[in-house]
């Protein structure tokens, strides 16, 4: 019986969980005040690896011949082939990207080689591995949630809402959206998504989150027929959107449309100047992103421009929360192993190089210690490869990156031994005290909310992150309540 399989979801008492909290909770002014907390002068950047990133080839178990491979490495070699279409990363492939050992098995781990840039002339020389060596990257292993889903959409939604059992009081807003609506009002613009729609984890209908593709194209599109007519157009536009959704019987979509249009007008006047400001003041850093020439680099540069705007107190520029995504991780076929022209290699090197350049830019701005980057994907992939790719899987690693992040390996590698996999060939989510205990995504989010956003853990528990309701089987469900991820080597907090 595969208890982890989401298909058994509703048979296990989850439906009863809906009654835990009333839907009116967030409307209560006292609760809102109690929720008040602050990100201060910090920034949170969420990077979504869209499609289901193969965690096993992101942080891979390795060994040092002629010693024998350990437990994880043996299982890895049984699951990942050599030869044409094979996805196995050899110890040689992983020699430049070694990180700490798995705290449970004590076997050595390494990043995929795509996370190390060997080009000394690149502004991203050594890539994410360099940041790891500087102690700025936390690798959190085995991240997942109970009753995992193999559906992209469903699993993505669970990660974005942090609501795996569908507790109704928490539905309709992202996990960061629930934080934002408790701490910001309709006239604030605390968040920016890089892209054409608002990221679901930031989604809510109380405060402004802009969706920006490129700052320089974010100006309001007035026509050039008459300069003197523009103020009248602006006035009329502002009135139409201020009035939208204010009538009797207005629907949520009308209210949301009105608020978004209003925030768009404000943003279209305050954000485009950040582009030229940055290009003037930080030309050499801008060139570094150009040298990478990838969409992730370009998106992170837009975030750097906004951060620079906040730091230099530009009017109406107050964003602290950012989201961007990189697609292409649904590698059912032609995934590639260590070859530099492989799909997975290209994905990892794009992200690695872009983060390195972005981090260095932030460091030079003096805000690296104010920065936290959270990297996630909706699931990992099947332990055993198919012909030359991997199908959908379960728990995978997350990265938390920043100047005050305590780098290292957190959590435990999932048990990838054939005998431990479930009927579908995926690793099992478990909270039992054995050495392969999973890291619940709510522990990661809770640690960020408590230690980065200064939110009271009691409030986190009562209103942002639903616990799995008792009395579910403690081996398969999550009841942890401290939100204090610790580095196993010295038991210190994730954030210094």
């Amino acid at each position: 019986m595969a208890l982890t399989r989401r298909q058994f979801l509703k048979c296990t008492g989850a439906a009863a969980a809906g009654g835990l909290l009333g839907p009116g909770l967030f409307g209560n002014v006292f609760v809102q005040r109690a929720l008040a907390s602050t990100i201060g002068d910090r920034y949170l950047v969420v990077l979504f690896l869209d499609g289901g990133n193969d965690g096993l080839n992101t942080v891979a178990p390795t060994y040092f011949p002629p010693a024998n491979p350990g437990f994880l490495r043996t299982a890895y070699q049984a699951a990942r082939n050599t030869g044409v279409g094979g996805l196995r990363l050899s110890p040689d492939d992983l020699a430049n990207t070694l990180i700490a050992n798995d705290p449970n098995t004590n076997e050595p781990l390494a990043f995929h080689p795509g996370f190390y840039n060997p080009d000394t002339s690149s502004p991203a020389y050594q890539g994410l591995k360099k940041l790891y060596d500087l102690g700025k990257v936390a690798v959190i292993q085995g991240c997942g949630y109970p009753q995992y889903s193999l559906s992209h959409e469903q699993s993505r939604g669970i990660w974005q809402t942090a609501n795996p059992l569908g507790v109704s009081a928490y539905s309709g807003a992202g996990w960061l959206g629930r934080y934002l609506k408790a701490n910001y009002g309709p006239t604030n613009i605390p968040g920016v998504t890089l892209g054409d729609s608002v990221a679901p984890e930031l989604r809510q209908t109380v405060t402004g989150v802009l969706a920006i593709q490129r700052l320089r194209e974010f100006g309001f599109p007035y026509d050039d027929a008459s300069d003197t007519d523009i103020p009248f157009k602006r006035d009329a536009f502002a009135h139409l959107y201020a009035a939208a959704g204010t009538g009797a019987g207005a629907q949520p979509s009308q209210i949301y449309l009105g608020d978004t249009g209003t925030a768009t007008l404000t943003g279209s006047e305050s954000y485009p100047p950040l582009n030229s400001l940055y290009l003037t003041d930080r030309k050499s850093f801008s060139d570094n992103y150009d040298a990478l020439d990838t969409s992730t680099a370009r998106a992170l540069r837009e975030i750097a421009k906004i951060i620079y705007g906040v730091k230099t107190n530009q009017p109406n520029v107050t964003a602290r929360f950012f989201e961007l995504r990189n697609g292409g991780y649904d590698t059912h076929s032609d995934q590639g192993a260590a070859a530099t022209d492989g799909q997975h290699y290209a994905l990892h090197s794009e992200v690695s190089n872009a983060i390195k350049v972005f981090y260095d830019d932030c460091a030079a701005m003096g805000v690296a210690s104010k920065l936290c980057i959270l990297v996630w994907s909706e699931f990992s992939r099947r332990i055993h490869q198919n012909d030359n790719g991997t199908d959908h899987g379960s728990q995978g690693p997350m990265f938390v990156i920043g100047g005050t992040v305590r780098g290292g390996v957190y959590g435990r590698h999932p048990n990838i031994d054939q005998a431990a996999l479930d009927d579908d060939g995926n690793t099992v989510y478990t909270q039992s005290a054995n050495g392969f205990r999973s890291t619940d995504i709510r522990d990661v989010y809770g640690t960020v909310l408590k230690h980065w956003l200064n939110m009271d853990p009691m409030v986190i528990k009562s209103s942002v992150l639903p616990l799995d309701p008792a009395p579910l089987d403690p081996a398969y469900y999550w009841r942890t309540e401290n939100f204090d991820l610790k580095r196993p080597s010295d038991n210190l907090d994730l954030f210094a």
């Binding site: 399989r5 298909q7 058994f8 979801l9 509703k10 439906a15 869209d50 193999l150 559906s151 992209h152 469903q154 054409d196 729609s197 608002v198 802009l210 969706a211 920006i212 593709q213 194209e217 974010f218 309001f220 599109p221 007035y222 026509d223 050039d224 027929a225 008459s226 007519d229 009248f232 157009k233 009329a236 536009f237 009135h239 139409l240 959107y241 009035a243 939208a244 009538g247 009797a248 019987g249 207005a250 629907q251 979509s253 009308q254 449309l257 009105g258 978004t260 249009g261 925030a263 768009t264 943003g267 279209s268 059912h332 076929s333 198919n386 012909d387 790719g389 199908d391 959908h392 009927d423």
Partner: protein, 487 residues
């Protein structure tokens, strides 16, 4: 309770046209009110189109895309196009992975031919559609290492859905594995599907894997499930898989595919989150799924278009508590605007003064909807997901571009052909523009006053529409208004 004999009000006629086509033009509204008169006769006429086999030809993606956009602006059966767009989202297939514009064009032609026909036959055709076989890896589904991609999405997205309305699962991972076995060995040659029998999972080759059996714990087939091993040639086996899926029953004992498809079409044509009672009513009314061969999409759409739930959304401003608006898709926004303004798009490089194909493609991309290239197998996210500052700015920019397209041909914005430029009464001008754009009843009095104030510069100026500024500006403002983003 209304039914097919219920007469349509002007507001309802406009609503019907907005949802089944691209904007409510006065001549079409008049035809409904004068000739059709009732919900049933109007629905019958809208659905009585010949399924023109349009194919977006083009050697490169932008050409094919533009060809389709151009066709949408002139297509004589808007409802056919609305249905094709629905199926394009439902069977979302993206050029970015397929990488063959000819295969994509073939699929769009298939959707045109089958858009209102038998849904089960359509799914069987999609099984062996080369673009789909590329997109969901059927061509990479080998007997030794089955690829689950198509088998999963076939159930999750095209037919059953993950869960039924009671939250019970409709299928298991084991069902995905078993169905994936059936699709092993399929590929295509010169645009035609072919089965490589040497690469197919025949039971005789794999006795250890046992017979292919699905739905042993769901579907209402009993504990034995349904076996579908067919060791014949051609599509017999994968057709049988579809036959079984279309006989699947949910935990209420109702046909799963019929209810889910009806729900999706209600969400598309009417509004999000339709009541289960409404879903069941349109299924019953149309007989959709009532027998193994009764999968007539046209009948299902007709049942939706005569149901009260559809007209809940047709009310005039300021919208009662029960009325439900829907956010226009970007393609609807662009095509409706062009059709209502009587405009065509210009050649690909004429960008500067707007209204070009390139402007349309760039604009649609920023609005979040590029035809032939949906963001994923899930298609596009609807409703409030269309609303963001980036997407709204792209809509505002498109409105600006088309209303400032100069010239004399059909590619120019020519307000003199839409309204009487000699009008001087600002309220009458506002009403005339709202009429052209098909939303005379969708703005509140306060919103109309805002537009009047724009024309008169807050009462300080007499209106002269010949000034080359205010007519264009007013059209742009209405196209940018909250009301015009909804329908």
């Amino acid at each position: 309770m209304g039914d097919e004999t219920t007469p349509l009000s002007p507001a309802e006629a406009r609503h019907l046209l907005r949802r089944t086509g691209f904007g409510a033009q006065k001549k079409d509204v008049d035809r409904i009110l004068l000739l059709d008169k009732t919900r049933g006769r109007a629905a019958d006429r809208l659905l009585n189109f010949r399924s023109t086999p349009f194919r977006p030809n083009g050697s490169e993606f932008p050409n094919a895309h533009n060809k389709w956009i151009k066709y949408l602006t002139i297509a004589r059966s808007p409802l056919q196009e609305k249905l094709v767009l629905f199926w394009h989202d439902h069977f979302a297939t993206a050029i970015s992975k397929v990488a063959d514009v000819g295969l994509m064009a073939d699929q769009i032609q298939l959707l045109h031919e089958r858009c209102k026909g038998n849904f089960k036959d359509l799914v069987k055709a999609i099984n062996v559609n080369p673009a789909m076989m590329e997109f969901l890896d059927t061509v990479r589904n080998d007997k030794d290492v089955p690829n689950e991609n198509y088998a999963r999405e076939l159930q999750e997205l095209f037919t059953l859905g993950v869960d039924d309305t009671n939250g019970n699962p409709n299928y298991t991972q084991e069902d995905i594995v078993q169905i994936a076995r059936a699709f092993t060995g399929w590929g295509y040659d010169r645009g035609k599907a072919v089965l490589d029998e040497g690469n197919h999972d025949f039971m005789a080759d794999f006795p250890a894997r046992g017979p292919k059996v699905i739905y042993q714990s769901t579907g209402g087939f009993g504990s034995g499930g349904r076996s579908f091993t067919v060791n014949g040639e051609g599509t017999a086996e994968i057709d049988t898989v579809i036959d079984i899926i279309f006989a699947h029953r949910d935990s209420n004992g109702r046909n799963t595919v019929a209810r889910r498809t009806a729900r999706r079409l209600l969400e598309y044509f009417a509004h999000p989150n339709p009541d289960t009672a409404v879903v069941d009513a349109v299924v019953a009314q149309s007989g959709f799924g009532s027998s193994p061969d009764s999968w007539d999409v046209g009948a299902l759409v007709r049942a939706i278009l005569v149901h009260d739930a559809f007209y809940e959304t047709g009310a005039a401003a300021p919208f009662g508590a029960q009325t439900k608006k829907s956010v226009k898709w970007p393609i609807d926004y662009v095509v409706s605007t062009l059709r209502l303004l009587g405009m065509r798009l210009k050649g690909r490089d004429q960008y500067v003064d707007g209204g070009s194909f390139r402007a349309a493609l760039d604009g649609l991309s920023d609005m979040g909807q590029v035809l032939l290239d949906p963001p994923s197998v899930f298609g596009w996210d609807w409703e409030t997901s269309w609303i963001s500052s980036a997407a709204l700015l792209a809509r505002y920019g498109f409105a600006r571009d088309v209303t400032s397209a100069r010239g004399h041909g059909t590619t120019a914005f020519r307000p003199e052909r839409l309204i009487d430029l000699d009008l001087t009464d600002p309220a009458a001008i506002v009403d005339a523009v709202l009429g052209v754009l098909g939303i005379p009843d969708q703005l509140t009095d306060g919103e109309k006053t805002t537009l009047v104030n724009y024309l008169t510069e807050n009462g300080t100026k007499a209106v002269d529409l010949h000034d080359g500024v205010k007519a264009n500006g007013l059209f742009a403002l209405v196209l940018q208004s909250p009301a015009y983003q909804l329908h």
